[in-house]
Point group: C2
Chain length 122, copies 2
């Protein structure tokens, strides 16, 4: 009973993913997320609890789908969150169990270089 959410949570998570992928975690401000989602801070906080919660929602959703953009969020998680957030560590750790060291390191290395904007000679 009571009001239903005015927005589509799935769509919002998609928008949050795009922001984190483009800017990384620490460099993303709540204003960035407010702007990208079209929601107000209160709505974001009542839905996700915290900035970390927003990232976790974005990451979890992405891992379920296992798309190319998952790798970007995994990289951000590993470089910016895994050592600060127990929950993110758990999520990534569990995901990693189903991967091979070779595949993961190779893919992450490629993404770092690509995202850096450094010209790939090859």
């Amino acid at each position: 009973m009571g009001r239903n959410k005015k927005f589509d949570t799935v769509e919002t998570i998609g928008q949050i993913q795009q922001v984190f992928i483009q800017k990384g975690y620490n460099a993303t401000s709540l204003d960035d997320l407010v702007q990208a989602t079209g929601l107000l801070r209160g709505s974001l906080y009542s839905t996700f609890g915290s900035k970390e919660g927003m990232f976790i929602a974005a990451l979890s959703d992405s891992l379920e789908k296992e798309s190319e953009e998952s790798w970007h969020l995994i990289l951000i998680a590993m470089t910016e969150l895994t050592n600060q957030s127990k929950r993110v560590f758990e999520i990534i750790n569990q995901w990693y169990h189903h991967q091979s060291y070779q595949t993961v390191t190779e893919k992450l290395g490629q993404i770092v270089l690509k995202e850096s904007g450094i010209t790939e000679v090859k």
Copy 2:
């Protein structure tokens, strides 16, 4: 003429490197750097100009020596600075010219995984 610096700039750069390596760029605050170097903000700013300047000093110094810790700073540069700082982009871009795609992506991938704290099975 005039006073000489009370501290050893080379030593200070070493301390700055350690902080950035441990926390990354955005997650490092000036207070962290003040604490690690034992200097005051004014001294850091008069020497390096800005937080970005402090990172550039740390990165440049590290690239000259080409040690294992260089890779950590290169990773941070690529994931957090290359798209925001023209100077860092130039430094990394030039460095990259003397490397091979294979070596770079492989090494970066390994470091991401190691730094993430995720258990390496292998």
